[in-house]
Subunit: 416 residues, 2 copies
């Protein structure tokens, strides 16, 4: 398979995303519990105010702040008790000058009052109450509409819903929201040497590991991939499987057979159905990756070696899926700073992803501001999964780069 000029990773991703508009999946209405982790398809504007009334934030007494302005422990201010606000009910009374009303946390502030004095700063005095400290107007009160005003944009389209966002939606009574449909993803393995993982390989054969890595990676991102099984290197069979998959799924992942014959067959099958926007990526491992688009759908050919396939998933497929959902990140998390425990190098013509194992350094043994971790590069071949199992993350090296032990690197952890 002639890969030709290698394409830089970022350029390959840009070419792919340019063909697939963000948020093009359409939307669906879901209940609030299922909405956690989903991306809003439309902005949410409040139809109500929060809180819906002036609420006390403390157990104490509602007062007019001016009445207790001079209160001290030595010279308390004594006010008449006008009554008691009950939780969950309208205040039902009015606080006049010289009066106070008992109010629980969350209780409605009575008309006339403008602040709450916590019970700890008061002392009972028969039918009256002594106040030992002053409060400012508005103190210990969550004013009506101070959290959310009616008509306020509370969550923009493209926002991925976190727990607090779901809480706010519930507070506003919005128990159904319109979210972006999740991408539908299919996973297909090819290769005459590859057998389904539930079969015992005959001599010369191996089990399909890639599909299971990819299905697990999808699941880690909250998606359920559909496994289409293993196809041998029959071009027409692969073509038909791909055509059927492109009709039903938004993204089709084909982890290729590793031999030149398998790759050729898969490539031709993809080319007959999709426009190839990148083939041959300047990254190690992962060079043979192939990116195609067909009528708004994406087909990604992943290398057969398991480490290469997962690397391409992480670097190209995951950003593709996020792009399709149209999530707008306000900020993106940086990698983790670490000190290299040994030398690493990239080939002259490709960037390299190097698997590393992390070890937390003792705080005593490092300088102020120095990385908290040591990153041990793992000797790994792209054909060996066990090194990736030992690894905690990867570092990226620019083509031709050579770093020595002790240098600082940025690790992309596998757990994020």
């Amino acid at each position: 398979m002639a890969v030709g000029e290698l394409i830089p990773l970022e350029e390959a991703l840009e070419r792919l995303l340019a063909e697939l508009p963000a948020g093009s999946l359409g939307s669906e209405a879901v209940g609030l519990e299922a909405a956690a982790g989903r991306v809003l398809a439309e902005p949410v504007t409040a139809e109500e105010e929060l809180p819906p009334f002036d609420r006390s934030t403390m157990d104490g007494y509602a007062v007019r702040a001016a009445d207790v302005a001079a209160a001290t422990e030595e010279r308390p201010v004594r006010l008449r008790l006008a009554g008691e606000v009950r939780i969950g009910e309208p205040a039902g009374l009015r606080v006049e000058a010289g009066e106070a009303a008992a109010v629980p946390t969350g209780g409605a502030l009575p008309a006339g009052a403008d602040a709450v004095v916590p019970v700890e700063w008061t002392r009972p005095a028969g039918e009256r109450v002594d106040f030992l400290r002053p409060v400012e107007p508005g103190e210990n009160v969550a004013a009506r509409a101070s959290d959310v005003r009616p008509g306020q944009l509370v969550l923009p389209a493209g926002h991925r819903l976190r727990p607090q966002d779901c809480g706010l939606l519930a507070a506003l009574g919005r128990l159904r929201v319109q979210v972006v449909r999740r991408p539908r993803v299919a996973v297909l393995a090819t290769g005459n040497e590859v057998v389904p993982a539930d079969r015992r390989p005959a001599p010369g054969q191996i089990r399909d590991a890639n599909s299971w890595s990819l299905l697990a990676a999808l699941r880690a991102g909250g998606l359920r991939g559909e496994y289409l099984g293993v196809s041998g290197d029959d071009e027409e069979a692969i073509r038909q499987l791909l055509a059927s998959a492109l009709a039903r799924f938004d993204v089709v992942l084909v982890s290729g057979g590793s031999s030149v014959g398998d790759r050729d067959v898969t490539q031709r099958a993809v080319e007959s159905l999709a426009r190839v926007v990148a083939h041959g990526i300047a990254i190690k491992p992962g060079k043979p990756a192939l990116l195609g688009v067909s009528a708004g759908k994406a087909v990604v050919g992943l290398p057969g070696h398991p480490v290469s396939a997962l690397t391409i998933y992480r670097l190209l497929v995951r950003p593709l899926l996020q792009h399709l959902e149209g999530a707008r990140p306000d900020w993106s998390r940086p990698g983790l700073r670490a000190r290299l425990a040994g030398p690493v190098r990239a080939p002259a013509e490709r960037d390299a992803m190097v698997s590393v194992r992390l070890r937390r350094l003792a705080p005593g043994g490092r300088a102020e501001g120095a990385p908290a971790f040591e990153a041990e590069p793992l000797r790994t071949s792209s054909a060996h999964l066990s090194s990736l199992v030992l690894a905690d993350g990867m570092i990226r090296l620019a083509r031709g780069a050579r770093l020595e032990a002790g240098q600082e690197v940025e690790v992309l952890p596998f757990d994020d």
Copy 2:
């Protein structure tokens, strides 16, 4: 409700975890796809070797390395072509001295050969092949059992399965694994002022937002909580709900009413069923939290204020759930370094969690090694959810601490 002496956060968590042994949930067998993200209940030892035969990692020619030791572009070594290995089949031939055999990537190395020369380093010469470069013995070969040896411990108990781990299990034919049962969690709201979120609150009432925040937080951790609804402050009713929940769930989260009456009622209901190991945490917000244990089950009383409830979830409930699953973290991710955009302070007697919004700093505007983010503290009251919706994470301040703009802080992002 007398909270008494406040308990430091870490001590409260330790007291709780000490009563609930790690990994005490028991285990269950699950299929490999469902195993992604789960914690292994027992170590996995390989019963087979990987790869199962010496495999070529390149398209090329299997040779005896000694035969091509002197090969150069100028003086190629010419070897006789003994045949061709087909992918997915046994090699079916032997390479003698002076011979080579064509082999695809992933193909079986023929007996007699000990290395593979990539096709790019060769030139066809009729029935023979010219080799232009030497190879070392073992070069471009993934030797039988070099990835995994039979009997090797490939994954320890307590390991949370990542995509690569699932790939390795598939390669070994292990399509079912024994994983720790996930904690069963119930979510109950109390408070006479609280109505279910699908109801319109009457004057003095508010909707139950906490339960939806908590259900979403559980879901972000891969768990489905069960919502038990809203109970008023009837002690016997709460007691019965809790007793029934403790029989069916491992962890019961009760987000309390915020008034003193509600808290007292919830506290007495919890005390009648569980041993309270901590009540009153030295953290702001979150002070009223209550931790109880009953026959290996945990009941956590969360404050009624929504910001406080989510803070306690993050600081106490999430570590509790991870502890119950018995996952052994090899390393824990540090917070994100940021430069404070404004001053923050903690009260004298409690640590404080301060919500912040993150902004990536332009690389040009900062010194080498300086934080990549600015953290803007959000003026927030624990009663206001909208500030948490604006926030990207929290910083923790020690009791009495006062930090100024420009100081470096560690942010716990909400997205991890």
